[in-house]
């Protein structure tokens, strides 16, 4: 029995979720079968949160509790972040519920040797967007049907292709002057309290010892002063260059409401425009920071 599942099996929740996701009962019964047959030790999915209008991650080991799984517009969470935690790493074979964007993270984790495919049953959901109003990442989603799954729930929809016109939010900011950008970001980052929710919630931030926690030498100042905040937020993003899959969980988790995803999407945009690369589309694509094309030359280097 799992603690988090206490008190959250009310029928009302289930019916709300059913209204938005028609395959829910199929998902629930599939999860139940996986647990009953012993194929997996645990199913990670979504359940009703403690707060009435929130959903929360659920870690189900009891087949009877599979009916508490939900999926609806409140299921923002990228559950693949739990795969890096010590508790899940030693949990044996598990099943995990993923939306398309979450599934991209799985591809990156596979590419970077962080998960073993054979230890994972991927329950892919066809997702047409979460959030109310629908989130920006969902508006430009190119993976409504996940790029990797073992079992798909929902009728596949054709995925949209990205173009450079995709990145409108980043482009709005790019139009600003250097001075305006500097003031904008210093002001935004100043609210940072170094809680590292952005890092912890990120499925791709898999380091067990983050660079900011390394103090010989201390590249990133740990203090939440302007300099420390600027440095941390810059480094956090840059380490995701060519790796960030754009789930925007960092921004959602940030208690200080810093538009972190903008920084990430700028990287996603540059990597896409310069190298035609989208992270997480396949577990075999070499990330652009780890490869090159013979003879390529950048104009800005003279």
């Amino acid at each position: 029995m799992l603690g988090v599942m206490v008190d959250v099996s009310d029928a009302e929740t289930t019916s709300t979720a059913n209204a938005t996701f028609r395959e829910l009962s199929t998902l629930q019964s599939f999860a139940k079968k996986l647990l009953e047959s012993g194929t997996v030790k645990m199913v990670i999915g979504y359940s009703q949160g403690y707060t009435s209008d929130r959903a929360m991650p659920a870690f189900i080991t009891d087949p009877e509790k599979a009916s508490s799984l939900i999926f609806d517009k409140r299921c923002f969470h990228n559950l693949t972040m739990y795969l890096k935690t010590a508790e899940i790493k030693c949990a044996g074979k598990i099943a995990i519920v993923v939306k398309g964007c979450d599934a991209k993270a799985l591809n990156v984790l596979l590419l970077e040797n962080q998960i073993k495919r054979e230890n994972l049953v991927i329950l892919g959901l066809v997702c047409i967007g979460v959030g109310d109003p629908t989130l920006e990442k969902c508006r430009i989603c190119n993976v409504n049907t996940p790029p990797i799954y073992d079992e798909l729930f929902g009728k596949p929809v054709p995925n949209k292709e990205w173009t450079s016109a995709t990145f409108t939010r980043v482009k709005e900011l790019e139009g600003k002057s250097q001075k305006e950008l500097w003031e904008f970001w210093v002001n935004e980052f100043n609210r940072c309290i170094k809680c590292y929710a952005c890092r912890e919630v990120c499925p791709i931030c898999t380091c067990t010892r983050c660079i900011t926690d390394k103090n010989q030498p201390q590249w990133v100042p740990t203090s939440p002063h302007s300099m420390g905040n600027f440095h941390w937020n810059l480094t956090r993003a840059f380490h995701l260059a060519g790796r960030c899959i754009g789930c925007d969980e960092c921004e959602r988790s940030c208690p200080a409401d810093i538009p972190l995803s903008l920084v990430n999407w700028k990287l996603i945009k540059q990597v896409f425009e310069k190298y035609g690369f989208i992270a997480g589309m396949s577990p075999d694509d070499l990330p652009p920071m780890s490869t090159y094309v013979e003879g390529e030359e950048e104009e800005f280097i003279k």
Binding site: V170, L173, E174, Q178, K179, E180, L181, W182, E183, F184, W185, V186, N190, R191, I211, W219, V220, P221, S223, H225, S226, M227, F230, H231, L234, T235, A237, F238, A241, G242, V263, K266, L267, Q270, V271, K274, Y275, P288, M289, S290, Y292, G295, E296, E297, E298, F300, I301, K302
Partner: protein, 153 residues
């Protein structure tokens, strides 16, 4: 007022640009003294952290230079460096860093003249831009008590 003397750093690779800088010396080419060289084996070794730390140490400008594409002593180090700087540069620009203070060149072991010329251009450019006041404002000062009393200090 005394003339502004920029504080600047050059990260240069041991095989090409450092040797080129030596050649500028052997050839007695004069260039401004307002930057300090940190020798690295390869531009591929230069971490993005070095750049940020440079600014945090009060640098007005940072210069990165290595072997020409195709001439890397380690075969491909500068290719990776090139991609890293390309993306990092864009990111810095997006975050409002004054990217005119960053300079990237490829200078071979035989290009002593180019080294001296680029060094001169670099320092002249920084003199024109003046002190990097934007960044300076976020650097905590030792002399100030610096106690942040709540808020966003």
């Amino acid at each position: 007022m005394a003339e502004f003397k920029p504080k600047a750093i050059a990260f240069i690779c041991n095989w090409c640009t450092y040797t080129g800088a030596d050649l500028a010396g052997t050839s007695r080419m004069e260039y401004p003294a307002d930057f300090r060289i940190i020798k690295v084996p390869c531009t591929g070794r230069i971490d993005a952290e070095f750049i940020i730390k440079g600014f945090e140490q009060g640098a007005d400008g940072i210069w990165i230079s290595g072997c020409h594409i195709g001439d890397c002593h380690y075969q491909s180090g500068n290719y990776f460096a090139q991609r890293r700087w390309s993306i990092f540069h864009d990111e810095l620009e997006f975050l409002g860093i004054d990217t005119r203070r960053l300079k990237y060149t490829w200078i071979s072991a035989s290009e002593g003249r180019k080294f001296a010329d680029e060094a001169t251009e670099f320092v002249e450019r920084l003199k024109e831009l003046g002190p990097y006041e934007d960044f300076d404002q976020i650097i905590p000062k030792i002399e100030e008590s610096g106690a942040s009393v709540g808020g966003d200090g």
